[in-house]
Amino acid sequence: MATVAADSVLFETLLRLGDDSLILGQRLGDWCGHAPSVEVDLSLANMGLDLIGQATHFLNAAGEGEGKGRDGDALAFHRDVLDFRNCWLVEQPNGDFAQTMARQFLFSTWQEMLFGHLTGSSEPRIAEVAAKAVKEVRYHAELAAEWVIRLGDGTEESRRRMADGLDWNWRFIPELFEMDEIAAEAVRSGIGADVTLFREDYDRRVRSVLAEATLEPPADQRPILGGRRGHHSEHLGHILAVMQFLPRTYPDATW
């Protein structure tokens, strides 16, 4: 099988990183003005802002490397579902606050470990953004873990909702640790991270928080894959329809 061209490996790697952050940032934006308390509203919006900042850097770098005149905005607002490379976890519905925190906990715990590894990337743009963002992602992971614990070890209702939220999102964990040919090539060339290296740490951290939350880990389910190759759940189409409507309708608009 022909090796994947180096440029295309970098482009794909940057899209995966940028799209994960963009879609999750967009999901968190939906909570703005609707969260259970002002404090929570601020924290979700702040996390969303951090994520969109990450996406801006990664997608701008992707566009520059591609060399076809597309910048981060063009990539974010003018690609269709099949061209997005985010994982399924970030496109899952917000659901209730517990489900949102479950998704955040599972994602940010992973992203913090990933960015920790990516600070050693041979691609300066990736290493720089990872080094910068890892401090912020640590906040995200801590906040989400605190809520998993507070809701899990809370009332009967909060516990049920947190258990349901974890149950919903649990089957999207395997995709986070998928190493396909592009990911393997990214590791070989030094730009990407071998995510399997921190699977055990991740599992340990997740189970430790669940234990403190007095929750049982959900049963493992059939893994769901495909996001890295543009095969997404129905949710992404709806997310993009809302997110991209304005720029697509008024392509010449400027702020």
């Binding site: 601020l42 802002l49 900042g53 080094a131 401090k135 912020e136």
Partner: protein, 149 residues
């Protein structure tokens, strides 16, 4: 011929550019300006998603142009990542005077209104990505604390 005089003049211009969100401090006070060379100034964004990043760059451009430094470029670098360690002592004093507790390694913030350390964090996330919401148990006033980053 390029002399050190021109970079002094550039620093002066940069010191006159206030942070758009906290106008009491300049972009120099906050450690946003990383280097000044005769042909370019090098700046770094604070938080990854800071909405003021583009405004700051625009304001620096406008200030440089107004002072006649149209040929001086602005270069943005992400590395090494910005840290609150780069906020100058003068900057920290200005933050405190403005009513924002500056970043410090102390676990309890000092209330900018009454000076008490009998304070508590209300929320890790405040009005901007860089600040947390605190409350003083002595004078009962709320205040923002610049988070260590």
């Amino acid at each position: 011929m390029v002399t050190t005089l021109s970079t002094d003049a550039l620093w002066q211009v940069l010191e006159s550019v206030p942070d758009p969100e906290i106008p009491a401090v300049s972009v120099v006070d906050l450690g946003i300006v990383r280097a000044v060379r005769p042909d370019r100034v090098v700046i770094t964004p604070t938080y990854t998603g800071c909405p003021a990043t583009q405004v700051i760059e625009r304001d620096i451009r406008a200030a440089l142009d107004a002072a006649g430094f149209r040929d001086v470029a602005i270069e943005t670098t992400l590395s090494p990542p910005w840290t609150t360690d780069w906020i100058t002592e003068g900057g920290k004093a200005k933050l405190h005077a403005y009513g924002i507790a500056p970043p410090s390694s102390a676990s309890a913030a000092t209330c900018p209104q009454c000076g008490s350390t009998d304070t508590e964090e209300v929320s890790r996330f405040g009005s901007t990505p860089c600040k947390a919401q605190w409350r003083c148990r002595a004078c009962l006033e709320p205040f923002d604390r610049f988070k260590c980053h």
